[in-house]
Symmetry: C2
Subunit: 318 residues, 2 copies
């Protein structure tokens, strides 16, 4: 019989959730950064859960306050990618019984710092014990809100739309993964003023996340290695594959290019914005505009893309 190490995470979730029915109040279910539940005419509820596991998302040596920051900020980043903001989060911490009280207290300090900075409430949660020797686990879940007309999904991209990323990519393991800033301000501004056709946050790397956006939007894509904005001392391959940048990846119609780039410089002068490529037709005539073009038809399963290009999979180290 197959174990879960023989299947990629996306494929596993697809298999497990087959045949799940959802009720009409669920506007978006499985497959986007957050689920979306109808609340009122003008506002929707966003739902998200996300987990960090010791030795996968943080090491035992790392400052627990920064671990707490990361655990909550990852969820905030998902709300940002929908054009929303966090509202009320719950904290589940699962620990071996020999964990120091001081460690968990510091994790909570990190969580509270994120809550203060991004204006949400911590409304509950639990602590549960696990076996001695098991990794520490922090799982954050809860709600965000988004104004109905700001809701931005992964699925609205159209062929010829331009693909942008915020910030620089790669090498987050050297520190950024523990103290990144979720792009709440930028996500909200984009949703209000530019109306991206599709948006998500970069948690697993462009090489893995862009195919997901394209699959949702039924598009292909072409991106250019030479344009990838590199973090200090990173190669383009690292920038595409390392993951945990928590920058925004979004698409806009060609016609909005000038407006976006001019306004961005004005409102976010300190945050790089880069057009890395464009969406394409489903069965594209791929033209490599630059020597290092990377492209994939939309039939490419994100998993195959992952095999081609790397990126982080929770059950396999590439």
């Amino acid at each position: 019989m197959s174990t879960i190490s023989h299947i990629k995470e996306d494929a596993l979730i697809q298999k497990l959730t087959e045949g799940i029915t959802t009720f009409p109040e669920v506007l978006v279910g499985i497959g986007d950064d957050c689920a979306v539940i109808e609340k009122t005419e003008n506002e929707h509820t966003l739902l998200k859960t996300d987990t960090v596991v010791e030795n996968i998302h943080f090491t035992p040596q790392e400052d627990p306050e920064r671990v707490g920051w990361k655990a909550a900020a990852r969820v905030v980043s998902d709300f940002a990618s929908m054009g929303g903001k966090p509202e009320a989060l719950m904290v589940t911490i699962i620990l071996p019984p020999d964990t120091e009280q001081d460690w968990i207290q510091k994790v909570y300090n990190g969580l509270k710092t994120v809550a203060r900075k991004f204006g949400f409430s911590i409304v509950g949660g639990e602590t549960s014990s696990t076996a001695i020797g098991s990794p520490k686990i922090i799982s954050i879940s809860g709600t965000g809100t988004v104004e109905s007309h700001n809701l931005t999904l992964r699925s609205g991209g159209k062929p010829s739309d331009l693909i942008y990323v915020t910030g620089t990519l790669g090498g987050s393991i050297r520190g950024k993964h523990l103290d990144f800033t979720p792009r709440i301000k930028e996500g909200l501004w984009l949703a209000r003023h530019i109306k991206p056709t599709a948006m998500m946050d970069l948690s697993d790397g462009v090489a893995k996340d862009l195919p997901r956006l394209c699959k949702s939007s039924s598009c292909g894509f072409e991106i250019f290695k030479s344009r990838i904005p590199l973090s200090h001392n990173c190669t383009a391959d690292q920038a595409l594959r390392d993951g945990e940048d928590y920058e925004l990846l979004f698409t806009i119609p060609k016609a909005s290019k000038q407006e976006l780039e001019t306004a961005w410089k004005k409102y976010f002068p300190d945050l790089q914005l880069t057009q890395i490529g464009h969406l394409m037709e489903k069965t594209p005539e791929v033209v490599a505009e630059e020597a290092s073009a990377i492209h994939a038809p939309p039939e490419t399963d994100p998993q195959q893309m992952n095999q081609l290009e790397g990126g982080w999979d929770h059950f396999q180290k590439d």
Copy 2:
């Protein structure tokens, strides 16, 4: 330095969450069965997260479909205890890489069965890997809804209110903990027609849960061992301490006794309902009406009560 095995779960959570501020839309934060977020004038959102861990909440030998049932039904039970119902749940599963795909598929089958039976949507979640040899973990979180006028908290109990439990208690480890029925129907009916002054579900046993309700309501209590409704082959001590019954524990004004008991027999003829005692003043003159009366002044911390009476604590085996 102290490890978490040196502190009881309630005390730990109280310590960790000190100084947490919540925003006005949070009607109820930490400390009840669910958090309550204002939604519209007539309806509120309930928020809950709950986790089951292998070797604590289920054994490796147990049928994974029943494990899935338990994981989701525990959360449904918390919505029931507020007079509400489940809406949209997310599933986080954390597994060692040698877990069989078949195991997780069956867990999902159990989850889907609960979803169909209690009418909620599964809207997302994730799978994450943990180290080989670590316990399997299933964490369920998400939203329920409650009509504003049905919302029933732990905190509204008054001295002289009568204390009731549904069903029979004890011995759930012999099987009930994996296939109990969350009391959604009963909770909703009680909230609509009887208006309990306080209500919660029995997850850790009367010996541990009743002091929590009393602490929230600033009351003492007196209960009678001889009245505790016993599951087959259980002693009163087991009924008070075993936990995982997922029955409702609630209080009503004395004046509602007749109305409740008559209507209950009509609407729920197959489910036992038992008055096990009553709430008391903060500094009660305790009168043992029966030889086996158990009582505690409200100053008794739930932890001290736990030391007196047992009940399940997630970091200690009593």
